[in-house]
Every structure is written in structure tokens, then in C-alpha cells.
Symmetry: C2
Subunit: 546 residues, 2 copies
């Protein structure tokens, strides 16, 4: 049996484009005498469709798509994910389903059992879990169809009480298919492979795994679909961060020696780089925009953001804007100009001086007797935002946000100022990782000026300001933040690891006291196991560790 995995980039709600893409693959597969072509979870509508699932109209459009696709499935079978109405009165109204299409019709439907509902996942919000387990027969083979999380419940302290493969294996399936929507983070490729191979080792039958690629706003899907032979060895992986289509001969997957000769991966920082580039590219494409505007401060964050944007959109589609004030150092302007020249992008210099002075004047009588404080710093950042957004509005650019995760965590930024933008590129990248990214980008030639990398970070909103006037050194800060945000450790546990007690309390308090600010920031491209945004939901008017 020849099985093809079709790893595609879907556009949420764009039924026409998704269906056409899927049908193109089916046509291609037919020409190559494929027996079965497999698409990923909720492929017809894109993942995650979120509350569009609450609209009957949306579900009906999904089912229409499935029927159109089914009509193409003559002389070939296909497996494809779609939401489906639960026919029972009891329980939630939908299933997250895998459709088996053959003889130009829907021949079987299987539903997802384990519905992830943590981090960025909300599947129990919409779907009823499956409770009936049945393999599917095709060309004399029995297939165990599972959907993503269905294979992830194999640890010693399992999150779910049920385990679908434990049921399906009783029916002696010949192989497993897992259709998935498993988003990227810099640990995920390794974790995913270890989970999938562990399944094969447990059930002792080959596995085909098919994932999404492409960005859905903040969620980045890296692909990495694969086939695993009966012994638990990976035979071949599909591409990362690209659409791909690969054909496998089922029979070979029972042969011991049929396996990959060692798969080499990019470094974590290399994967983050590729993920962010894809994130920018897809955000623009899926919203129908072409070009970006970025405020270039001469600092490392805007430099890295700009370099990634150029990679994603092309140098002709990235506009740099330098917005100096009286507090901007000479080298800041120079560094930003060198960057723009290295990247070959158009840029202009627009001084914020006059606008800032006008606000000072406008507010003079209101501020009588008050001295320069954070207010004036924020005004500068907000004047920059007004200018950048004006350029965005006038020319149809999307403004890229340049805040990093360390700043976003402790609230070191101006809401409606430097925290503006359509999408945050580095909001899930700690400052220390931004340096790594800069060096990665510079690995072949100097794109980001060395001075942007080596000079002490500064917001340059008052004379001689340095980030570490208000914050611990990033080397320390990022480590504390990681333990709190990614590891969910409390203050005592972090202090026990050897960090300074007052610093730990100060940092945790800053994080919790900035929830109101983060609530209003752009979506953040997610590259870590715990990003700000949908995956981390915090109360605002609360008082915990504050």
C-alpha cells in the first residue's frame, strides 16, 4: 500500500483555498498511484478555528468541503480532519473528527478522544470526547486512526483517564495514523518524536504522523510529519516550516533496517529563527498585507526584528523609521542607519523632538509644579507610536512590535508606545535569546551592527538611562523569569535554587503587576513552551505576590 502524507499550510476559515489545496494534493497523489493520502487535524477549516466553531454556518461549510473533497476520492482514499456535529442530544455539539473518504464518498468517521485544554489549547470548549473505538479496514489492512493528543497520554502520571490506543490495539490494527495540529516550540520537535516513538514501541506497529505547517497568528506550526517503522525508528521526516508531500510504502515499514540514517536538526536558536520568519510571513499573507514598518532605535531588539522581517517579506517590503529625540545618543542613529544599509531597506529619519515639545507645552499648565518623571518618558514612546501608526495607516504597512519577552514580562515598556504593533515578533524571546538570535543572524556576515549587540541596553528616554537601572541584569532576570513563567515555580522554589530573595520577589511582583499592560499588547509569535497570550491566562485585578 502506498501512503502519502500531505503537510500543508491552511488558512483558517478560507474554505475555498484550503479545499483547492487539498484537492490539488489528491490529484497529484492519484497520478502517482497512491492508495491513501493523509491530511492533518481540522485541515478543512484550519487550526485553531476557535469560536468560529460556535457557528453552525461554519461547521456546515466544513462539511461541504469534506463532501467536495470526497467527490475527488475515486481510485484513492483520503483521511482528513474536520469538525462534525455530534448526533446525540447529550454532550457537546461537536466532535473533532477524522473522515475516511473512499469511492467518492465518506465511508467512515472517527472522533478524537483526548481533547487538550491546557496552554494554548481549548478543545474541550467545543468538542465531545469520543467513547467508541473502532479501527478502519482498507485494502485488507486495519488502520487505527488517532487524532493528535490521542497518542500523548502515555506518561506515568497521565493527564487523562482514557487511552484510545489501549482500546484500538485490541482490534489488532496493522498500523496507526495520527492526524495532528501540534504547534512549534523550541523543545517540541524532540518531545514529539519521543512521544511518537514511545507509542510505536508500546504497540509494535508502524505509525504515520501528519502535522500542519504555517502560522495561525501567534501559533506556529512547524510540520515535521513522519513515518515510524515497526521497531520505533523514524523512517523519514517531512520538512520543517515548509509544505511537503512524501510517499511511503507501507510494507517497508515492517522491515527492520528501513530507517533514517540519523536526523540532524537545527539548533534551538536556528529553529526559533525559522519559526519567527514563517510567523511574520504568514501573518502578512493571511491578512492580505505586503509590507511592514519598524521603528529602528539602534538597539538590538528592533535590529533583530527588522532582519527577521526582511527575511520574511523581502527588503523592498520593510520600511525602517528612525525616531530620534534629544535623549538619543549619536551611536543609536548611526547603528540604525548601518543596519538599514546592511539590510538594504528604505528608511527615513523623523525627529520626535517637535511633537514632544508641543505636548510639553500643551500639558504645561496641567503639570504645574510637577517634575520630569516616567510620564515624559512615556510621552516620547507614544509620540513615536503616533508617527509609526500614521505611516502604517497612510501607506498600508503593518507595524511590527519589537518588545522582547523579558520586557513584556516585567512591564518594561510603554503601553500605546513601544508596545504597539500588529504582531509581536520577539515577545516570546528573552533578551538573552535575542542576543543569540543576533549572533545567529550575523553568523555569515555582519547584518546587525556589532555595536547594537555589545552596547548596554537602554530605552534612551532620559539622560544616561540604562535598562539595569530599573531591572536586574538580563542574565539573572531571564533565569528567574524562566523558572516563574515556563516552570510555574513559586518564590520559595526559585530562591532555593540560589537566587537572591529580594530580587526574586521584586521580579515576580513586576510580572504579576504588569498583567493589565500585557492584556492590551499584540499577539506574540509563540516559540517557547509558555508564551504570553492565549497560553497564559491571568487575572488582572488580583493581588498575588504583589
Amino acid at each position: 500500500m502506498k501512503i502519502a502524507l500531505a503537510q500543508l499550510n491552511y488558512h483558517i476559515g478560507n474554505f475555498e483555498s484550503n479545499t483547492n489545496k487539498i484537492i490539488d494534493c489528491i490529484q497529484k497523489a492519484k497520478l502517482q498511484n497512491i492508495d491513501l493520502v493523509v491530511f492533518s487535524e481540522l485541515a478543512v477549516c484550519g487550526y485553531p478555528p476557535r469560536d468560529f466553531l460556535n457557528f453552525d454556518n461554519f461547521i456546515l461549510k466544513c462539511i461541504d468541503s469534506i463532501n467536495i473533497i470526497a467527490s475527488e476520492c475515486n481510485d484513492i482514499a483520503a483521511i482528513i480532519g474536520s469538525p462534525y456535529f455530534n448526533p446525540e442530544l447529550k454532550g457537546k455539539r461537536l466532535y473533532n473528527s477524522a473522515f475516511f473518504l473512499n469511492n467518492s464518498k465518506i465511508t467512515d468517521i472517527r472522533h478524537k478522544t483526548l481533547l487538550p485544554n491546557y496552554d494554548v489549547f481549548d478543545e474541550y470548549r467545543y468538542f465531545e470526547p469520543n467513547r467508541n473505538f473502532k479501527t478502519i479496514e482498507y485494502q485488507g489492512k486495519r488502520i487505527a486512526i488517532t487524532i493528535c493528543e490521542d497518542l500523548w497520554n502515555i506518561s506515568d502520571d497521565p493527564l487523562y483517564i482514557a487511552n484510545p490506543m489501549d482500546e484500538l490495539i485490541k482490534q489488532k490494527p496493522d498500523f496507526i495514523i495520527n492526524i495532528a495540529a501540534s504547534p512549534f516550540n523550541y523543545k517540541q520537535a524532540e518531545v514529539r518524536k519521543s512521544i511518537l516513538t514511545a507509542n510505536v514501541k508500546r504497540y509494535k506497529i508502524p505509525l504515520f504522523y501528519i502535522n500542519h505547517i504555517g502560522a495561525q497568528t501567534e501559533l506556529l506550526f512547524d510540520g515535521g510529519s513522519m513515518a515510524i517503522n515497526k521497531e520505533g525508528d523514524i523512517v523519514e521526516e517531512l520538512k520543517y516550516f515548509e509544505e511537503d508531500f512524501k510517499i511511503f510504502e507501507l510494507e517497508k515499514l515492517y522491515i527492520h533496517s528501513y530507517k533514517s540514517q540519523g536526523i540532524r536538526h537545527k539548533s534551538e536558536i536556528g529553529m526559533i529563527h525559522d519559526a519567527l520568519v514563517m510567523g511574520i510571513k504568514n501573518y502578512f499573507f493571511k491578512l492580505g498585507f505586503k509590507s511592514a514598518v519598524i521603528g529602528l532605535s539602534g538597539g538590538i531588539d528592533s535590529a533583530v526584528t527588522c532582519a527577521l522581517a526582511v527575511k520574511a517579506l523581502g527588503k523592498e517590503n520593510v520600511k525602517g523609521v528612525l525616531l530620534p529625540s534629544k535623549f538619543s545618543s549619536e551611536h543609536s542613529i548611526k547603528d540604525a542607519e548601518i543596519l538599514a544599509n546592511n539590510l538594504g531597506i528604505p528608511y527615513e529619519i523623523i525627529s520626535i523632538e517637535e511633537a514632544y515639545n508641543t505636548f510639553e507645552k500643551t500639558l504645561k499648565s496641567s503639570f504645574t509644579g510637577k517634575s520630569f518623571d516616567i510620564t515624559e518618558e512615556n510621552i516620547q514612546a507614544r509620540v513615536r507610536a503616533v508617527i509609526l501608526m500614521a505611516l502604517s495607516n497612510k501607506f498600508g504597512y503593518i507595524l511590527l512590535n519589537t518588545s522582547n519577552k523579558s520586557e513584556a514580562a516585567v512591564g518594561y515598556g510603554t503601553l500605546y508606545g513601544d508596545m504597539c504593533g500588529g504582531i509581536s515578533v520577539l515577545g516570546d524571546v528573552y533578551k538573552t535569546q535575542v542576543y543569540e538570535l543576533a549572533n545567529f543572524i550575523n553568523s555569515k556576515e555582519e547584518i546587525i551592527p556589532q555595536n547594537s549587540i555589545t552596547k548596554p541596553p537602554s530605552a534612551e528616554l532620559r539622560p544616561n538611562q540604562k535598562d539595569n537601572d530599573s531591572l536586574p541584569e538580563y542574565e539573572i532576570l531571564d533565569k528567574i523569569l524562566f523558572q516563574y513563567i515556563e516552570m510555574s515555580l513559586g518564590p520559595d522554589e526559585i530562591i532555593e535554587m540560589g537566587f537572591d530573595e529580594p530580587t526574586v520577589y521584586k521580579v515576580l511582583k513586576m510580572v504579576n503587576a504588569s498583567e493589565w499592560k500585557r492584556y492590551q499588547t499584540p499577539p506574540i509569535l509563540r516559540v517557547s513552551p509558555k508564551a504570553f497570550g492565549m497560553g497564559r491566562r491571568m487575572p488582572i485585578a488580583a493581588k498575588y505576590l504583589i
Copy 2:
């Protein structure tokens, strides 16, 4: 048996204050020889604690609180909600539990079975559902303890397969206690009462229901706790939008005639008014702020917001700012001044003219050859935001957002401009409801100038601009929005109701195309069954009905 219901306003994560409040009630109950005092769901930590639940440290603090409270429970029993660790390895790590405290210790723990995971609720994100059903014996009576949603599964097409009371009733309990966290919307009080009385009619035993009051950022809890006699008649309701403490004699609840002589409710608009006032008040108090700043345009939205703020915070704590431009009409300034004078609040007038002109000058060379468009409109709105935020920063005011739900729905507003603010007061109130609110506020005396109510709505960002240049009349727009947002109807279903086809498509497209904008707006006080924010989760880079 004397049973007291303690309806309190908790502060999320503020264990000290919550515990003290609870203990004060227990002391008070002891003085009145109460046998059992009942607190609401997740009372010790406040509801919803969201991802704080992922921190062991947070759960341990909850359990510490329970133990401190238990030590006060001599000569009295208490029932109180708290998260609790699931002792099993299988399943999620927490339960949403009710603790029975007696003889100065924890004597029993029961867990929630039905975990709401729709709209604003995310309980399945954290909690394992209960599967063991056991009543509790106390003073010779059997109590069926249920937690909020546990009683809500009694329709003909139930959302959940399990029904905890169907299990508990087999043990012949004498009465039901339901500890809840049931947020307000303008339909909820009626729905809640019909669900609770339906339970009593089905199980034929009295019911005590205890809810939260108070605002948790956007979620508003209205209280309305109650006791229901064996026949399904409400005996008494506790206050709405206020803390309350009421004592009931259990034995009387078996007497037919012991019931309330008809409960009169405020109108929907009256409840919305009270909910919003509480929402503002609690947001400020729980964040430790005292005073608000509001941009007064002379229009109805800012006028209503301001009147609500004065009710919540006191006139001395609300600062009005008039920010006229060359497009502001004479009457706008006059209407805003009359409002400020009617309310007795301090106000100042700060012209945006100079700042706007400076931006025009600053951007002149960048904009060469381009004519006045939405860019310049947005600059005006953003200049206002810079000024309001400067006042907020300098004086410690929270800026109140004044956008209404109709505008928020169709994206009729400037991001980082009039869409700024710490909290959105009217973001869940359609424009047509804002008029109702204005008339409600004016019912005794004219507070909101009649002219603000009667003049055609305008953003006044270009000459002679009117809202209905870009939008359908609000009477039509709001009806279409209601069908789409609250009722989740698709375009065909709305058109079938008699609305104009191109208008329906235009409106739905505007809603879906504004997700990116709404993503970055402040939390919205929730008064409807479907508010923007946590309860409505939409993809951004999608293409559905666009």
C-alpha cells in the same frame, strides 16, 4: 438547624483579606448560634483564579487558608470552596472542591463534577471532574453538596453526560447546597432562578444557593444567593451587587407557605447600571487606585461612562478632560461642560490643535502627495490618548475607555486612540442600550445633557462627519450584531429574519475584520451573555465571511 449564607466579595489571590473576611463571618455566625455557614465556590482564592492555579505555591496558600478557617470552626460547621490537589496520579492535578469544616478541622471534601468550559469559563483547563458521589451527614441531616454547574445539566439536550444530583438523590439527602460562582449578565438572574427551582421541583428537597458578589476585572458577580423551599418557591434572595449575610431555619423550608411574597427585580437596564458601577468601583479598589480620568467629547458614550464613574468613585475622584480640535462643534464643548457641571466634577480643556498641527508638520515630507484620509482622523484620536495617558501617568488616574459595543464590534474606533483605557465600561453595551442607560441615569434629574442624547452621533474627526456615513443606523446595526454575536447566527439565518443582504454581509465582515483591533483593547465589563474578551475567542489572521 440554622444555616447562614455568606455572600462576599473576594479579591483574587489576596489570601489574607479573603481569609479575614471569611473568619469575621464565622465569628458573627457563632454569636447568632448558627449551625452551618456556607461560603461560595473557590472562595478562599477568589474566582476566577485562572492560571494562578498552575502554581503549587498558589494551591498551598489556598489550603493554608482552609486550615486557618477550619481552626475557627468549633461549635459551628462551614462549607467553603477551594482548589485541592487530586491525590490520584491519573487525571488533572486539581479538583474544584467544597470543604466541610467542623470540630476545628476538615471533616469532608467533595469535588465538582460538571466543569464549565464555554464562554468565559475555563474550568476543564485546571480541574479533574468528580466521579464519586456521597452526601455528607451533619446533625442528623444528609446534605447533597454540589458546586455551581453541577445543577445546570437539566435541559432536554444536556451539555454533559453525567448528572451529579441524579446520583446524590439515591442517598436520600434532606437538602441541597450549591456553592457557586455565577457571573452576571442581564438575563442571568432569571435563568439562574429557573434552573435552581427546576432542580428543587425535580428532586423535591430544599436548596441553599450561595453566589459571589463583586467584580473580578471584567467578570461581574451579582450575588442573588437564595434559599428555595421544598416546593420550589424562593423563600428569600440575598442582595444583588452587595455583600450580604442571611440566616435561614432549615425546618421552615419544608413548610409549604414559607415563601417570598413575590420578588421584584430592577429592569434589565437598571441591573446593567448597577453592574457597571460595581465593575468600575471594584476594578479601582482591587488594583489600589482611587481616581479616574475620562475624555469628554460631548457625546453620549463619554457622558454615560462619566456618570457611572462618578457613581462608583465619587465626584471628587473623576477628572473630565475636554480635548477639542478644529472639527469639534461648539455644542460638543458646551455639552461636555454641562455634563461636568451637572456631575460636579473637576474638568479641564486641553486643545489638541497644536499637537495635531505639529504631527502634520513632522509627517509632511513623508506624506507628500497624499491627501487627508483616515490617517489624520486617527492622529487626532491618538493625540487625545497621549494627553489622557500623560495625565494618567502624572497623577495616578486610571483612564476609562468609553467605546460602546457597537463600535467595538465593527472596529469603528482608533486603536491606541479612543480605544485606550484601563477598563472598558461600555464595551458590552450596544449603542442603542447606551441611550437607554442615559435615560435611566436621567430618570430623576437631567445629568446627561439632553443634547448629548438627541444629536446625531459623530466622531468629529473630519468636517460634518456622522457615524451613519460609515455605519448602518444603530437601530439596524445593533440588531444584526446581536444575532451574530449573542446568537451565533450565520449570514443566511440573519438575512432570513428580514435584514438587508448587503448590509448583513457588510456588518459581519466588519466584525470579523476587526479581531486584530479588539485583541488589543482593554478588558470589557461583561453585562451580556456574550461579551468581547475572554468569552469570545476568535482567530485573527483568518478569512471567514471576509
